[in-house]
Amino acid sequence: MFGVIKHKTQSIRPAFSAIRQFSSAAKEITVREALNTALDEEMSADPKVFLMGEEVGEYQGAYKISKGLLEKYGPERVLDTPITEAGFAGIGVGAAYYGLRPVVEFMTFNFSMQAIDHIINSAAKSNYMSAGQISVPIVFRGPNGAAAGVGAQHSQCYASWYASCPGLKVLSPYSSEDARGLLKAAIRDPDPVVFLENELLYGESFPVSAEALDSSFCLPIGKAKIEREGKDVTITAYSKMVGYALKAAETLAKEGISAEVINLRSIRPLDRSTINTSVRKTNRLVTVEEGFPQHGVGAEICTSVIEESFGYLDAPVERIAGADVPMPYAANLERLAVPQIEDIVRAAKRACHRSVPLAAAA
């Protein structure tokens, strides 16, 4: 498990610099603040919402997402649990059976492996097995995907794992607006939601509109967001990779390629309509994800496009994913194991028939 948990101050520069220039007047908040305020507002609005997990209370959250909530809502609603993922995830499910709305925090989603039986077998399947008698309004949330320097067991993306399971909804926010709107939607939703955050984004600031700061703000589950419009190639991404895709789009723009960047937001349900509409416009597709390539989110998107828009494709679909290896520890290897901005640029160029030596392909 975790050795020492520190509240890291992130030094990574916001990837969304293009937008920042335009919105100097808009308020900026970090993803951490977005998640914290979303939790706070939903707990305030509905006394059936409670938070449980390791270190969510007195420690204020391993990543400080729950900061201040214990003080505000008390230990009855912000529950520090023992280190027993299977136990407390199952307790959350049982509490949700009768209408409470638990938010279960995994210190990282890697630990959800200890509780996956309850996520899949108890939470996801109960509504179906009971023929709609017992719904399970629960949120499983926590940081997902590669962190930095923590090795194989702590660096993995579970999006495609959970997204392959009927009965689950899987959300993955990128920006502060995403984090607020999607977490609120997840808590209000009557079904089990797996909410995949990213540790490296917690400290990043994003501009947010006044609308997104309103306590009634909520994003629809199952809708992707077009972060940047373009006409030559579609790039799909979620979570941290959206930032990389936007960076890549900037680089591509300098070379005369207009890339459309789709922030998936919802991995399941997948917004096939937005993806296919975009591909029918650009005729080219690059999928980006941090997870393993085989049976991944990119594979699913590719299938959807082949099924629905095959005739519109002018180039083979390009898939950028994490390397098909457990995450190495050494920093240089670790960098090689996850997609980089230049990988996306290269793939997009290839899709646009720019000449790139094959040996350099990602």
């Binding site: 609603r77 520090d80 407390f88 199952g90 409470l100 009971s130 017992i134 917004d271």
Partner: protein, 431 residues
């Protein structure tokens, strides 16, 4: 109220089961199991590890000299049940037994399929506990769940129909033998994995406490019963939940149906200390051992444990020593259990024991019990006929109920499920 460890005050001795030296005499329970169950009374055996006959002796002698019922009579010098209660218990146990016999019959006739785990022999536990519950109380069961559902009030028709995979089943044929849910009866399901139901049950108990103390619902005094077997007590989720239930004083009773065998693995071959009840005091809750073949003893213990939970005094671990008269499932050839052991427990049939008690105390006549049996026979014939004549789930049901809010899933542009679309079978079953 407080769920936090920091504010958790150690229970006064009278609430806590034991001091370290008094494990054999839980203070909060007047029923002293040590009188009838010496600590060496574990009878589950493998021929390799223990001599069954040697172990069985104390129990056999006790049975010969003082019938179980008499022991209790001497303790209380009163009848343990009224005539009405006696007949209710008898009816529920007969229902459980006959229902399962009917299941076996229907399984071999091909009417039901998959894994079917029968409860024969363990009826005293289900009846002894569940018949004391209110409708609002929760029951969480395992894959051996038909009889728990019946005791909780789910109709024979609904359970039988579910087993037949029909649309009229309690889960419209979507659950099956191991997943009996009934929201109306607060039957929170059968869970097919070992240990999986325990955290869910603990969560249900948590929700009662939350409703009472956070949502201020004064009537939220539901008690949750978590049923599971001896094999589960070697699984980590058992310990995780004993800890949290005691830590947060949740209104739950952990009911171990120790039938001595986890499929073909003897309890004695699987567990370092086979006395499961001892694990209660280790977590700060009473641990009680009771003869699970005697519905009146089970009921006595259950009454106190359930009331204790309802009073807000926290969880109790109850180990019911029982025995299943059939194999693990209908697919189990049951070759590992010693015939002598099976015979021994067959002689301790809980239904026969109750019948004897009712007769000896003039609580029921032969005709009255015969009438109950006839009534149950009729109920089950009706249930089978009902299940047989019920429709199969329609095709449109396939994609229903995956989500409470299925927006974005499997719904066509016209708002209908895609499986109703004639083109549904072309290409992938995309939902």
């Amino acid at each position: 109220m407080s769920f936090t460890a920091t504010k958790f005050a150690p229970s006064p001795l009278s609430l806590n089961s034991t001091t370290p030296r008094s494990n054999d005499k839980p203070l909060s329970f007047s029923f002293d199991h040590s009188k009838t169950n010496p600590s060496s009374s574990f009878l589950g055996s493998t021929r390799k590890l223990l001599r069954f006959t040697a172990l069985a002796k104390p129990r056999a002698q006790a049975r010969a000299s003082t019938p179980v019922a008499d022991v209790l009579l001497q303790q209380t010098s009163n009848l343990l049940i009224t005539k009405e209660e006696g007949l209710e218990l008898y009816e529920d146990m007969i229902l459980g037994r006959f229902f399962e016999d009917k299941c076996a019959e229907m399984y071999y006739r091909g009417k039901m399929f998959g894994f079917v785990h029968l409860y024969n022999g363990q009826e005293a536990v289900s009846t002894g506990f569940i018949k004391l519950l209110k409708k609002e109380d929760y029951v969480v069961s395992t894959y051996r769940d038909h009889v728990h559902a019946l005791s909780k009030g789910v109709s024979s028709r609904a359970v039988m129909s579910e087993l037949f995979g029909k649309a009229t089943g309690c889960c419209r044929g979507q659950g099956g033998s191991m997943h009996m849910f009934s929201k109306e009866h607060n039957m929170l399901g059968g869970f097919a994995f070992i240990g999986e139901g325990i955290p869910v049950a603990t969560g249900a108990a948590f929700s009662s406490k939350y409703r009472k103390e956070v949502l201020n619902e004064a009537d939220a005094d539901q008690v949750t019963l978590a049923f599971f077997g001896d094999g589960t007590c070697n699984n980590g989720q058992f310990y995780e939940c004993l800890n949290m239930a005691a830590l947060w004083k949740l209104p739950i009773v952990f009911v171990v149906e120790n039938n001595l065998w986890a499929i073909g693995m003897s309890h004695l071959r699987a567990t370092s200390d086979p006395q499961i009840w001892k694990k209660g005091p280790a977590f700060g809750m009473p641990g009680i051992h009771v003869d699970g073949m005697d519905v009146l003893k089970v009921r006595e213990v259950a009454k106190e444990a359930i009331e204790r939970a309802r009073r807000g005094e926290g969880p109790t671990l109850v180990e019911c020593e029982t025995y299943r008269f059939r194999g693990h499932s209908l697919a189990d050839p049951d070759e590992l259990r010693d015939p002598a052991e099976k015979e021994h427990y067959a002689g301790r049939d809980p239904i026969t024991a109750l019948k004897q008690y009712l007769f000896e105390n003039n609580l029921a006549s032969e005709q009255e019990l015969k009438a109950i049996e006839k009534k149950i026979d009729e109920i089950l014939d009706d249930a089978v006929e009902f299940a047989d004549n019920s429709p199969l789930p329609p095709r449109s049901q396939l994609l229903e109920n995956v989500f409470a809010d299925p927006k974005g899933f499997g719904i066509g542009p016209d708002g209908r499920y895609r499986c109703e679309d004639p083109k549904f079978t072309e290409g992938t079953a995309q939902v």
